[in-house]
Amino acid sequence: MSTILELRNITKNYPGVIALSNVSVEFAAGEVHAICGENGAGKSTLIKIITGAIRPSAGQIRYDGSAVSHNDPVASKDAGIACIYQEFNLIPYLTVTENVFFGRELTRRGILDRTEMRRQTQTVIEQLGVAIDPDARVRDLTVGFQQIVEIAKAVTHRAKVLLMDEPSAPLTNAELHHLFRIVRELKAQGVTVLYISHRLEEVFELADRVTVLRDGCHVGTRAIDEMDRQELIAMMVGRELGSDYPSRKNPPGDVALRVTNLESEKLHGISLEVRRNEILGIAGLVGAGRTETARAIFGADSVRSISVELHGKPVTISSPREAIDHGIGLIPEDRKQHGILALLSVRENISFSSLGQFVRGLFIDRQHEKDKAMAMREQLRIKTPNLRVLVSTLSGGNQQKVVLSRTLLNESDVLIFDEPTRGIDVGAKQEIYSLMNDLADSGKAVIMISSEMPELIGMSDRIMVLSEGYCTGELTRDEFTQESILELASAGDQS
């Protein structure tokens, strides 16, 4: 088979992070090539580099026999590289035909040639073997059909390489079968499909070959019929556990937080409990419902039902304020969007949710505020030139400490950390770990959501695994292995 697309020594650096390191892969014409890896392994970066959304820091891309020099999204699309993202690029109020030809409308003497566009759309849809009305408005279609419109768009414009980023995630089982059939049809037409998925069954069902990434490195590319599921999982996780997780002194105490019967659009009967001095890890793939669980407990989103008991007493929590008043703290996943207040200073960020403490009469006692912020800076070793600088000037790890100190000033005794070490460097990670340990040792109940298996295994006393909104299992310390967690996390909707 001939090579259609080749990556040679592709490296992508971000300040302080290497997203991809020296990755070389060849993609053959007309193959289905799966790309696998844990969250944060570099899959998204790889997609973006192939589509030209970002430029590699080093390395070369060869497409159709020649080096790609001016790699940008429009050029790569024109050259025949199409991508179907998890968020569709469709315009809901336009028809299927209008969407398929959006931005590349056919015209005759300056007037839209609707008949021809409709005819071509019809032909492609028929080729794909589905029944979609080319005149239907996209917003009236199901998600599965919308995805097919995206595929039709790519096919109409003669894509030679089609990237699909987690295409199965939003689909029902019936829709999934359509998708599989279409992927095979595309392959028969000679299209190369790069299939990114964390559902291993699909990989074994569809792919000819699989490339595994881990921590930005290319672990290997193998023919799928030369390996089994266990081997693939081993390639994905296969790193040694760091022994750099500090140990804790105190055994778990009384139950601090008990959540039962959590139901929402995305969550199905989640129950959990966490004890004083304990760290409960929550594992799961992207979209498993981990962040939703945290936000529901914190009162940030409304849910269909939830029962919460704190220290044995039932409480109702319907807003973040109430959660904070009950002693629950959340360190959110998305530091930029939900954590820091970028336009405020470090001091103002630290005191922001506990300003009540500092108010004397009507006014904020700034000296008192400053003293407390200073104490937090010492305690958490926040590296900042002073407390007046804007928080956005600090490094990721130090911003995270600022968000943490904001929560600590509320004297919460249940702390929920959502991806506490995402995007921060190794040294700062260690500090966050030991802070979390100190907190657990001082009697707090800690919940830690993380996509990084080693830190979950290293830090947690118990790990609860979510998959597609269901709790698929709970593991105790002696059962912790990356394989067992990944097995439960990709268990699918078996419930």
Partner: protein, 323 residues
């Protein structure tokens, strides 16, 4: 710690523009008008400028809070108009000035609350909500007086708009009090801190336990109150309750606030800058009148000033984002 480094650390580029460029522009404008018209740089005219800007200045303080949270209030001029005719009609009907003023102020607060209901509970963007309120409330103002001016008030009422303390007109004193109160509220209270947080990052603010809705209600009620207060001052100054009072004021008010360095997307800006921004608009208007610039041309100039101010803001924040 020197002042310069303080500025660099704490203030955004657009605030620095407000701090340095704006006073320079103001001085340049003053020099220009002084050279162009001998009537400009006189004590009498300067006092006059301050008195003229006091109405807009009072409203601009409320608008600062609104824009800091990322909102906008186009209805401010109409609220002012409603306040003018309410207060005037009540006094003509025989109520004491004090009572009439209080009722007008309460009306302003209630209107602000209603704006809050649509913004918070229904979820309509403030721009559209207040656009609707602008027209509806202007209708209310004309309805109240059947389109006619109302006059003949007790003499004591004139003090608010026409009185002096020494050489300083009472409206200017009222404006200064409002400015001082707003500076303190914005910089020294919990509420003020929440306003900044809300404008910069609403979700993070909510997750920090701030009652975002209540904060928004408060700012629109505050803006309503201040617009109504400005209406009372204006009524007393012109001594006649015109239902068209305050028409088009939103333009001068918003321009003053944005010129003063308050980011139109919320989260940053200082009252001090707004005071200079409002003064600059006042000097510009006054100078153009003294130079006999016709009203149509004045509109052209003011409109361009607003666009220029927002352009500066936008360019500055884009630079800030890439830097």
């Amino acid at each position: 710690m020197s002042t310069v480094s303080l500025v660099n650390e704490r203030r955004s580029i657009r605030e620095q523009i407000a701090i340095y460029a704006l006073p320079i522009a103001l001085v340049a404008l003053i020099v220009f008008f002084s050279l162009s018209s001998s009537a400009f740089l006189t004590v009498r005219n300067i006092v006059n400028i301050f008195r003229q800007v006091s109405i807009v200045g009072i409203c601009a303080m409320g608008m600062t809070f609104v824009i800091l949270t990322g909102g906008i209030d186009l209805s401010v001029g109409s609220v002012l108009g409603v306040s003018v005719v309410t207060c005037a009609s009540l006094m003509v009907a025989g109520l004491s000035p004090i009572l009439a003023i209080l009722i007008s102020l309460v009306a302003g607060v209630v209107i602000g609350f209603l704006v809050g209901v649509f913004v918070n509970e229904v979820g309509i963007p403030p721009l559209i909500t207040t656009l609707g309120f602008m027209t509806a409330l202007r209708g209310v103002a004309f309805r109240i007086t059947n389109g006619l001016p109302v006059y003949d008030f007790p003499d004591s009422f004139a003090v608010i708009g026409q009185g002096y303390v020494g050489v300083i007109p009472v409206p200017v004193i009222i404006m200064m009090v409002v400015v001082v109160v707003c500076v303190v509220v914005l910089n020294r209270t919990k509420f003020g801190r929440h306003v900044y947080g809300l404008g910069g990052n609403e979700e993070a603010t909510r997750l920090s336990g701030v009652d975002v809705k209540r904060t928004k209600y408060t700012i629109y009620m505050l803006e309503g109150l201040l617009a109504a207060l400005a209406g009372v001052v204006l009524l007393s100054r012109v001594n006649s309750g015109q239902p068209a009072a305050g028409q088009g004021y939103e333009m001068d008010i918003i321009t003053g606030v944005v010129l003063g360095g308050v980011s139109i997307s919320g989260g940053s800006g200082r009252i001090g800058g707004v005071v200079v921004g409002v003064l600059l608009m006042g000097v510009l208007t006054n100078g153009m009148i003294l130079m006999n610039v016709d009203e149509y041309s004045q509109w052209m100039v003011k409109g361009l000033v607003l666009v220029a101010a927002v352009s500066l803001d936008t360019i500055a924040s884009r630079r800030g984002a890439t830097a």
